[in-house]
């Protein structure tokens, strides 16, 4: 039973990985990675790593992949298949196609080396089925077991990981923020109708700073409205 499950999950893992590498559309690559991660969680379960499998599904296949989907939908980008790139017949001509072929060859050599190192090793335990396993509420791999390890023996690692997450969150916000908030923005017109209900001269930042002259109070033009909403909402709309 576990062998059948292993082969199904392993086929899912490898085909998901192949899909990530060869699919043309980045969105489909993300979906292939989700399938890969779910199959990998099955492999983790077979290895009795229940908590890690749950974290994999919830955090990786859930949260991180949602982030990917949003960025792919926002950025998009040109898709290309692996074969096209290897032959160098993309949109930009044969730039570095030899290097890419060399990269694939190097990765193949890496696979051979890894398989020799992992399977040709002298460790006899590699060919075994692992250490003994006694089921129970505090058995190997359960949340209680992992939590006890994380909060006693690996407490420093736990705290450092949380600091790392905080730094990465701040860094992500800083990197992706809008630079030069008063710049040209072609999406400002979409928000202009929302401002029509607001009386003119009711204290936007642009008016207070004197950037919009209050001369045309009687009949504000649409261009002024658009410029005003740009100033108001330019800071955080895309965050």
């Amino acid at each position: 039973m576990s062998s059948v499950l292993f082969f199904i999950a392993a086929i899912g893992v490898i085909s998901g990985a192949v899909g990530v590498v060869v699919l043309r559309n980045p969105f489909f690559s993300v979906l292939a990675l989700v399938a890969h991660l779910l199959s990998l969680a099955v492999l983790f379960l077979l290895l009795r790593a229940e908590f890690v499998a749950a974290v994999q599904v919830v955090v990786y296949a859930g949260a991180v992949m949602v982030l990917y989907v949003f960025v792919v939908a926002y950025v998009g980008g040109e898709g290309e298949t692996l074969g096209e790139r290897l032959r160098g017949v993309g949109a930009h001509g044969p730039v570095g196609s030899g290097l890419r072929l060399g990269g694939a060859i190097v990765a193949g050599a890496l696979l051979v080396e890894l398989l020799i190192a992992l399977l040709g090793t002298g460790l006899e335990a590699v060919n075994g089925y692992g250490a003994g396993y006694a089921p129970g509420p505090h058995a190997y791999g359960t949340p209680a077991y992992i939590g006890k390890l994380l909060l006693t023996r690996f407490l420093l690692v736990f705290e450092l990981a949380s600091f790392l997450l905080l730094i990465a969150a701040v860094g992500g916000v800083v990197l992706a923020r809008r630079r030069g908030g008063l710049g040209e923005d072609d999406e400002a017109d979409a928000l202009a109708p929302l401002d029509l209900a607001r009386p003119w001269g009711t204290g936007t930042i642009a008016e207070g700073a004197g950037m919009l002259p209050p001369a045309d109070q009687g009949s504000p033009g649409r261009a002024d409205r658009a410029g005003e909403s740009r100033v108001e909402t330019g800071a955080g709309r895309h965050s």
Binding site: V20, L47, L67, V71, H92, A125, G130, V157, G172
Partner: protein
């Protein structure tokens, strides 16, 4: 299944990720392939952890997942910043680091 099968799967996944990192041009897909490589490493860690019946490898796998999440956060932030500055989303075109 014996541990060696899991290690073989992890080696294959790692190598596929390496192929993707070295051959794809879209930085988004390069990040995805980086995730593949990290997942291959995670599978090997958990297989060795099972081999010894010791939880340290699982803790290390969780830490690797944390680092991967941080890397995704920073990498996607950089890609969004590239897009905002109207730079090409293409690793062939991005040859210089000057801002």
């Amino acid at each position: 299944m014996s541990i060696a099968w899991y290690l073989a799967v992890s080696a294959i996944v790692f190598s596929l990720g390496a192929v993707g990192v070295m051959t794809r041009r879209n930085p988004l897909v390069v990040l995805l392939c980086l995730e593949l490589m990290l997942n291959g490493g995670n599978l090997a860690l958990i297989a060795f952890s099972r081999m010894w019946g010791n939880g340290d490898g699982q803790i290390l796998a969780i830490v690797v997942m944390t680092v991967a999440a941080c890397e995704v956060c920073i990498g996607l932030g950089m890609i969004v910043a590239l897009y905002r500055r109207h730079l090409p989303i293409d690793t062939d075109e991005l040859r210089e680091l000057q801002g």
